[in-house]
């Protein structure tokens, strides 16, 4: 396998040592660690080192923990934040968010950011919170917008960049205008808000007829990436609302289903690339943006890979948003006939009012929000793929501020050749050629973790946490943890010992549908715990 060597890789590797400092492992969202004490020949001896029960089991544990200087910070669905000694799991402090309002979009929390001695948390009632990382005491909280009014909240992990913490928002299926908000990390003071839908007199506003911009969705419910050298913050923007109903919003609907690159100091748009103009399939483009430098046609390029619900991975030049390529990662796709070399969608199949249209992939996505991993050692991009289709039908609906605004319905259907299935697959990110794949019993709904030990870790709904050889997908180790997996596994080192930690406990919005989709499979087990593994012979 090729080893990519370039400055970006080297710098990122040095930073990745020991800690798991940000949501995606680094600002480039690789979910890769350069730690290699645990590798393909000794992973079979991995044993539990400690475990911890959060006690907050309502929606399972969907978070990706953060580890900085030997302390692990993890958030639960109701917005509890727990600081643990990362070597032995001893509780350091616990913070329980006291909500001001009940949640819309359910209680889910995918993680915190830790920076400048503060832990940053977004809440199910749309507040941003700053917690003292030493004491666990709340220092500030900000009501981003009344959750009862906007039909929106925060489920994603914020991203701390320089002096600000950037928070996304849900609400893409409500009559709502999406945004990103940057607050000062220490004081909570407002820095900027970037509306994902341009207002009157802004560029792009002309892509929204009438008042449709006020209710056009464009949520930002996952976490972005950051390139310090270019000083660009990247974020994926979700579907347009009403999701299926085209009638009220004819036009491209910028910047929904797009990647936006912002100056993190000002919140100003530097470039954008719209992947799905006028989205009518609920194809959010909110997922992780993987930044890597690779040679394209003999020339080193600063790339961004973006694998989305639409079942394609888009390759963009992240310095200017130039389209390089898009390749299909699902087997079943018929929403378009294809994407041209220039990035244009051809052969669109748009749902109509009152008529069912069989479309693949489904609105659940060719991949769900659980995050991919990229290994600069193997040069492979690892994706959790879902093969499913749906009957889409648009329906007349008038938007009402903050109320659900879908404008149609989905009926999930299996692909033409049989059944709904999930699998892990490794791709060459430049060509889209699939190197290997591993079928799931049902599907894979946890984020992936790649390491310099050439390992790929993740868990399944059936409770297994396992390691594969990242080069060929061979299963090398597996452990039955007793709970379904929907969170983000991480690895880190304390005092020279490498640990691999996984959240467990089934939950999430999609998690509730598991039984309807796989009626013959056993129900994934709920719960909310961390299970941490290490090699027995090292340390202690």
């Amino acid at each position: 396998m090729r080893t990519w060597s370039c400055l970006f890789v080297v710098v990122a590797n040095l930073l990745a040592q020991a800690d798991w400092g940000t949501h995606g492992g680094n600002y480039a969202a690789w979910r890769y660690s350069s730690l290699a004490q645990i590798h393909t020949s000794n992973v079979g001896r991995l044993t539990p080192a400690w475990s911890f029960q959060t006690g907050d089991i309502e929606h399972g544990l969907q978070a990706t923990p953060i580890v900085q200087r030997g302390v692990m910070y993890v958030s639960t669905s109701q917005g509890w934040v727990i600081a643990l000694n990362a070597a032995d799991g001893r509780l350091i402090w616990e913070y329980r968010y006291a909500p001001e309002n009940t949640a819309v979009y359910g209680k889910q929390n995918r993680g915190v950011a830790v920076s400048q001695g503060m832990v940053l948390l977004g809440t199910a009632d749309n507040h941003a919170v700053g917690i003292d990382a030493q004491t666990g005491k709340e220092k500030w909280r900000v009501n981003m917008e009344d959750t009862r009014q906007c039909g929106c909240n925060i489920t994603g992990a914020p991203l701390a960049v320089k002096d600000v913490a950037v928070f996304g928002v849900t609400g893409g299926d409500s009559a709502h205008r999406g945004y990103l908000t940057a607050l000062n990390i220490r004081t909570g003071r407002f820095h900027w808000r970037f509306y994902t839908i341009p207002g009157p007199e802004e560029n792009g506003h002309e892509t929204w007829p009438g008042d449709s911009w006020r209710h056009g969705g464009g949520s930002t419910w996952m976490t972005g990436s950051y390139d310090a050298e270019l000083n660009l913050l990247y974020w994926g923007v979700g579907n347009a609302a009403g999701d299926i109903l085209s009638k009220n919003r004819r036009g491209d609907n910028l910047y929904t289903a797009s990647v936006v690159a912002l100056n993190p100091d000002t919140g100003k748009l530097v470039w954008h690339y719209q992947e799905v103009p006028h989205d009518v399939w609920d194809y959010d483009s909110v997922y992780e943006l993987v930044l890597a430098d690779l040679p394209v046609a003999g020339k080193m390029r600063k790339l961004l890979f973006h694998s989305t619900k639409a079942g394609y991975t888009w390759l963009l030049d992240r310095s200017n948003g130039e389209f390089i390529k898009a390749w299909q990662f699902v087997k079943h796709s018929n929403w378009v006939a294809g994407i041209t070399e220039g990035g244009k969608l051809v052969g669109r199949r748009d749902p109509e009012i009152g008529k069912g249209l069989f479309v693949c992939p489904s609105a659940m996505g060719g991949k769900s929000w659980n995050e991919s991993a990229w290994s600069p050692r193997t040069g492979l991009l690892y994706l959790p793929v879902v093969e499913a289709c749906n009957d889409l039908m648009a329906r007349e609906q008038e938007p009402q501020e903050g109320q659900i605004y879908i404008g149609g319905s989905w009926i999930i259907k299996p692909p033409p050749d049989g059944k709904i299935e999930g699998y892990l697959a490794a791709f060459d990110p430049l060509t889209g050629s699939r190197k290997w794949s591993l079928p799931g019993k049902t599907w894979f709904m946890a984020s992936l973790l790649a390491t310099a030990g050439d390992l790929l870790f993740t868990g399944d709904p059936e409770g297994n946490f396992f390691a594969l050889d990242a080069r060929d997908g061979k299963k090398l180790w597996s452990f039955q943890t007793g709970g379904g997996h929907r969170g983000g596994a991480i690895t880190y080192a304390v005092n020279g010992r490498q640990y691999v930690a996984t959240p467990l406990g089934w939950g999430s919005f999609l998690g509730m549908f598991h039984l309807s989709i796989f009626p013959d499979a056993p129900a994934p087990r709920a719960g909310s715990a961390l299970m941490v593994f290490a090699l027995p012979e090292v340390g202690q």
């Binding site: 979009y105 900000v142 903050g402 659900i404 919005f509 549908f513 309807s516």
Partner: protein
């Protein structure tokens, strides 16, 4: 966003089982929730329905409200089974939607416009950033539905102090003074509820904070248009009746 998903399960296996059909089709979180208890569609628990109305709604849907019809997808026997199950919800549990969303008061179109301007989502919540009225907004400033003031531009100038914490100086509303003090930091476009050690905090009763600066986004004409909503909200108070 996450989808309002209606699942095509192996229908034969659960054909006559209304509860299972309900779980698969209706109980999804965007819709009626587990056993009709929650969701963003109305809570079904606690209502008394007419079974033929339920049957026709399940069959044909309520297109204007986003409720899909199932007649293309379920057999008449299956719809009947779901209807029987829904009828068992009568009289149990509270009526209010768990998310409080459908409890929003319906107003006349004129009042609706007035309310929209007051909250003005497109400009970062407008007055709602600092005032809660009729269950929306943030409780930073006074409750305007209990106030007699019509100084919508300038406020009253009461209660705002100058706070000093180390090198920081900012306008603030102090909530609970004490060894641990909570205060609203008004030096931010979105007010920040901060918790500080009382010993670190100094306050000066004089403040240069200006309510008029916070309402600058509104023209005088727009402030006039807000009045009907506040008038209405004030009339809703028990002591006003």
């Amino acid at each position: 966003m996450k989808s309002f998903v209606l699942f095509a399960v192996t229908a034969a296996a659960i054909a006559q089982d209304g509860a299972a059909l309900f779980r698969a089709r209706c109980a999804v979180p965007y819709c009626h929730g587990q056993a009709g208890s929650a969701g963003r569609a109305p809570k079904l628990i606690g209502h008394t329905y007419n079974s033929s109305a339920v049957f026709s709604i399940v069959s044909g849907g309520l297109p204007a409200k986003g409720m899909p019809g199932f007649d293309r997808d379920l057999t008449a026997e299956e719809i009947e089974a779901v209807t029987r199950y829904v009828m068992t919800f009568a009289g149990a549990g509270p009526r209010k939607n768990e998310w409080g969303i459908s409890s929003r008061t319906q107003l006349t179109p004129e009042l609706e416009r007035s309310r929209n301007l007051f909250f003005d989502a497109a400009r970062m919540n407008g007055c709602g950033r600092c005032h809660e009225v009729d269950g929306w907004g943030s409780k930073v400033g006074p409750d305007l539905s209990r106030s007699a003031s019509w100084n919508l531009r300038g406020g009253s100038g009461k209660g705002v102090v100058t706070a000093r914490i180390g090198a920081e100086t900012f306008p603030a509303l102090v909530l609970e003074p004490g060894s641990v003090t909570r205060l609203w930091d008004l030096g931010s476009r979105l007010p920040v509820l901060r918790t500080v050690a009382g010993a670190d905090l100094q306050t000066d009763a004089a403040s240069r904070w200006d309510h008029a600066a916070e309402t600058r986004a509104y023209s005088d004409a727009e402030l006039q248009l807000i009045r009907p909503f506040l008038q209405w909200a004030r009339k809703q108070q028990p002591d006003a009746r």
